[in-house]
Subunit: 316 residues, 2 copies
């Protein structure tokens, strides 16, 4: 399952996108390779994933489409084309016949059923998402979110310091008899403690109606941190799993940001960016926009209309 190993690094670079399937609102990451995919979903109560390689896709396609006799590559492009708009939250539907429905099963799994049309015949697909391993949740959510919180906390402190310096400057002007041309321009002196308390009291209730959970600023910060983490990850000589880490290794931010990803030794060089914000931003934009083109870009090679010509090749 090489594709799956690599897919973890590809997924790590992707933002968590809000998606809505069957009136169920989730955050999603989806990676579609050449003939493999990796989907991550979360409602913040749990996290689900499905990793499928070429062989597994072939088997399931056979089970769901008895008459299908085509190789994976012949219908995978169509699967991407139909599934990706939904899984990236872009909402657009490639064709009106395509339908994706989500079901939460009693066993705690999530099933996404896809009904489409390929070569003039119905094409069925099902994503079977099961609870993700804790290590995946840590890599994709806990570690980045912890680093984000630390960075933002520091930024809050720094801005607080800047505000107090502004107040000192303002105070000096006033003491020298300076006056404002408009009274309303006068600001209150910044008091960190009281400001934070006031902010919390006012903002906590407001956030109750805040959607999506992962706004653009946070997605951007997530991308920056993940890119920075992968840069350090590339530099690490040993790329083992947690158990292989020296017991003296501190779980400090570097490891939080960039510790080796357990059970995903897949190379990251191609996927990762350097720690600079601009690069990270560019990459963020790339990733976000990539998701859409990825499906369509594969069309020239294997357009969804192409199979119609060799209908016999696909279905019997």
């Amino acid at each position: 399952m090489d594709a799956c190993g690599a897919s973890h690094d590809a997924l790590l670079q992707l933002p968590w996108l809000p998606v809505s399937i069957s009136d169920c609102h989730l955050l999603a990451k989806s990676w579609f390779g050449d003939s493999a995919y990796h989907v991550l979903l979360t409602d913040t109560h749990s996290v689900w994933e499905e990793r499928m390689d070429s062989a597994a896709i072939q088997r399931r396609a056979q089970e769901l489409n008895k008459r299908l006799r085509a190789p994976v590559k012949a219908f995978f492009a169509h699967l991407c084309e139909v599934a990706q708009p939904t899984l990236t939250g872009s909402g657009g539907r490639p064709d009106s016949e395509s339908l994706i429905s989500l079901t939460r099963r009693d066993d705690g799994n999530i099933s996404m059923k896809l009904k489409s049309e390929l070569a003039g015949l119905p094409f069925y697909w099902e994503f079977h998402c099961t609870p993700a391993p804790v290590t995946v949740v840590c890599v994709q959510l806990v570690r980045p979110l912890l680093a984000m919180s630390q960075l933002l906390q520091r930024q809050v402190e720094q801005l607080g310091g800047l505000l107090m310096r502004k107040d000192v400057e303002i105070q000096d002007y006033r003491e020298n008899g300076a006056t404002l041309s408009r009274e309303r321009l006068q600001t209150d002196a910044f008091e960190e403690q009281s400001h934070r308390e006031d902010f919390m009291a006012k903002t906590l209730p407001l956030l109750q109606h805040d959607t999506p959970s992962f706004n653009a600023d946070l997605q951007h910060l997530y991308a920056t941190i993940v890119a920075h983490g992968n840069t350090r990850k590339r530099k690490l000589s040993e790329g083992g799993c947690v158990e292989e880490e020296p017991p003296t290794a501190e779980p400090d931010l570097p490891s939080t940001l960039a510790g080796p990803v357990r059970s995903e030794p897949g190379e990251t060089g191609e996927q990762s960016a350097n720690g600079k914000l601009d690069t990270a931003r560019a990459k963020m934009a790339d990733r976000a926009s990539e998701q859409q083109p990825r499906a369509t870009s594969s069309d020239p090679g294997r357009p969804s209309s192409k199979p119609k010509k060799k209908k016999v090749g696909l279905f019997r």
Copy 2:
């Protein structure tokens, strides 16, 4: 396992404390009830937990201490007394004979072995921590961290707005010919974009040596958010698990902050605080300080020296 149900709410109120066992640095939460405990550990690569009720503790104590014939209550206080200082990162050892060692096992589990002395005889204990369910990781880390990031992001935005208002005021003073008594008091105009880029470029590398991962400010914010969440949780009429939620439920911050905790219906009224910062802060302090007293506070009832008197009652 009532105690375990309640323990989840008790744990949620606790801060993530940095602990160091056998040169292994982790973040930990531990709850010790009357004769039950719940331990959560994370190195941010994975999360482990062990929940033990009275019966399970009795069985293991028997296995590890063949000659032990005492009821749980007779030795549980001693177990708390020996284990809690380590699990709360307070470092202090109740007695020099007590030793706790941590081993990461190949199966991905964590084993903490405790050797102590009770009633003049060696007393052994083992914590068997296995990877925590994803739902627990979501409740204890993902949801609070996501809410923390959102709050901090908003605070950064608000402080940026304040800085720009200060600049407008300063600009007005200057335009009216005001001058500074000391040149060094002059500040540069705040430019959000460039400031953020500069901050990221400077802070990301610095954070590499940042420990612990969960500093006091973040622990405080964590406690505030969790307390706010539990307040809303108490107000919720239905207290089911994820699957029972109406599919139309938005995964927005209210649910992120306060959605019903899957598989932990334990009552929260006693544990939770209202959303106000002061109360949350007070509770935070309570929780943090509680951990220590909890073990010692049980001493008067059953001091570790007491068993010596009825040595026969403990060991045969």
